[in-house]
Amino acid sequence: MKLKTDAKNVSYLVIIILILAFLVAVPFISKPYTVILLKNILMFVALTLSWALFSGPTGYISLATAAFYGAGIYTAAYLGDVLPLPVMVLCGGVASFLLALIIGAITLRLRGIYFAIFTLSSVELIKHVLHWIEITVLGKRGRPVVKVSDSTVFYVILIIVVLLLVTTYFLKRSRYGMAMSSIGSCEEAAAHIGVNVVRVKVFTFALSSFFIGLTGAIMATGLIYIDSQIAFDLNYSFFPTLMATFGGLGNIFGPVIGAVLFSYLREILITKFPYVYMLIFGLVMILTILYLPNGIIGLAQTIKVKFLGGKDATATGRKVN
């Protein structure tokens, strides 16, 4: 049994490394358009993995992704021309991390849908306040962002995705990961068995936001000019939630698959038929909730169990606190 899982893990690792090697080579071997396409897909992979890092195990549905993404974007707009790129991107992550500590600390007492609508409102609150400050205090709406070449952005996002994969993998297998899933499973029991639920929740929330902030900061460099409406777009809260739910939260590949499928679909539809995309997006969300409670990954596992036998150990389902 042990040997078998090891062999399986090794083959997964080989596949992942091959895919990564291919991605690293892409800017040298393919057209500029492909780089932009893959960059946008990887961006959603990063956002979805970040979202799943916190919301997957804990079951708290966060709709604040757009707030952290926006914090990263604004960091880039303000620091992009003063700091070297890596430092600036890091600052975007730190800004989101700090913002998440604040939001996390005040939402501790909220469970279930209350947490979801609170985080959703936090995006809107920040957007409106920023807008007001820009109009009345600064007298100027929005800011330009320093432009960075597409292939640089592509590599930075690739690094973020790899960091996320590694972080998710090791967290899951750590003591800390056990604590996170115990919170999703039964928070009260977790607290009474010695888990510091407050610390685990807030820190994980902030960690996931750190990656979202990194992504926002680097993606901002492709936007040329940003304002509060662009930076704090609620769609960036909805997309990762749906992509992860659609892919399935049972294991690390679920969010990746969900993000890749949907962002590819988005890339082909968004310029010509943006509302077809929205329509499909909404329909798939409804159908996923109705018929695929464990997402694509869960479906794959069910099929595997049905036809090949064996134990279904990874599908844990979508939990809601």
Binding site: I61, Y114, A116, F118, T241, Y275, M285
Partner: protein
């Protein structure tokens, strides 16, 4: 003094529309446990239908209440019957149902919004309805807002009578308070929940008709109304129509004070108020 009274009156006028915005969602979440994030989209559809009926067929917007309401009722009925009812049957625990139904309502939001854009486009539309003022002594009322408020309060009142005086209304209230006991008394819970959700959509339709008489419309206007509805419910209490009226007027006055001070921050103040309310009354916010 006059400006203070004006702010107050404005608040009251806004309050009517806020109340009727909330009544529907209050029913849907209070009885059927569906936090229908797409509630504002139902309002938006109601508003656009009214705009269409008024501008292309010249129908009086007030008369549209009788046309638009039933359409939204039917829409709500179908949504609950084909989507949320199925979800309920497939979801084990009530807590999981609440979370999943909220996510599903997000999906619904996208579907309704994109369909609305296919049909009505992305631009801002509107018509003017009674664009003059009436005076009561020194105090100025916008005529359309006065009509809206009177209509909103009247609809809430009629709905209240329906819930408290008719057999069906009483069955709905029984189902919301103690579903087991209601089931024992022979109430078909599932039918009641569907009816209740549809009535919520009907109220959203009415709200949409009234909204269209005052503001300009666009297909993405829904979210704002959903948030307003949730705030009103938090202020006034869940599942209670008098509560929604009180909450609506409170929020109306709050909004009109804020816009008296700094109009640019009105929406921000709503969100802030909402978040503070959530924190002050955490799990029990929607408690009765």
């Amino acid at each position: 003094m006059i400006s203070f009274i004006n702010i107050f009156v404005n608040g009251l006028l806004l309050g009517g529309i806020y109340a009727i915005t909330a009544v529907g969602l209050s029913m849907q979440y209070g009885v059927a446990r569906i936090l229908n994030i797409a509630h504002g989209e139902f309002i938006m559809v109601g508003a656009f239908l009214t705009w269409m009926l008024h501008t292309s067929l010249g129908i009086n917007p007030l008369f549209c209440l009788a046309l638009v309401g039933p359409i939204l009722f039917l829409l709500g009925y179908l949504v609950r019957h084909y989507l949320f009812k199925t979800l309920r049957e497939r979801t084990p625990s009530p807590a999981a149902f609440e979370g999943n139904s909220m996510l599903m309502a997000f999906g619904l939001l996208f579907v309704i919004q994109s369909l609305a854009i296919f049909i009505w486009g992305k631009s801002i539309v509107g018509y003017s309805f009674m664009p003059y003022s009436v005076y009561l002594g020194e105090i100025r009322f916008a005529a359309n807002r006065l009509v809206i408020m009177v209509a909103a309060v009247a609809i809430c009142f009629l709905f209240y009578l329906f819930l408290t005086r008719t057999r069906t209304g009483k069955a709905i209230r029984a189902a919301s308070q103690d579903s087991d006991a209601a089931a024992l008394m022979g109430v078909d819970i599932n039918r009641m929940l569907t009816l209740c959700f549809a009535l919520g959509a009907l109220m959203a339709g009415f709200a949409g008709v009234l909204v269209s008489m005052d503001v300009k419309l666009n297909a993405t206007m829904g979210m704002e109304y959903t948030i307003i509805a949730i705030i009103v419910i938090v202020l006034g209490g869940l599942g209670s129509i008098p509560g929604s009226l009180v909450g609506g007027f409170l929020l109306g006055i709050f909004g009109s004070i804020v816009s008296g001070i700094e109009p640019g921050l009105t929406l921000a103040a709503y969100y802030l108020l909402f978040m503070v309310l959530l924190l002050v009354k955490p799990s029990g916010i929607f408690g009765r």
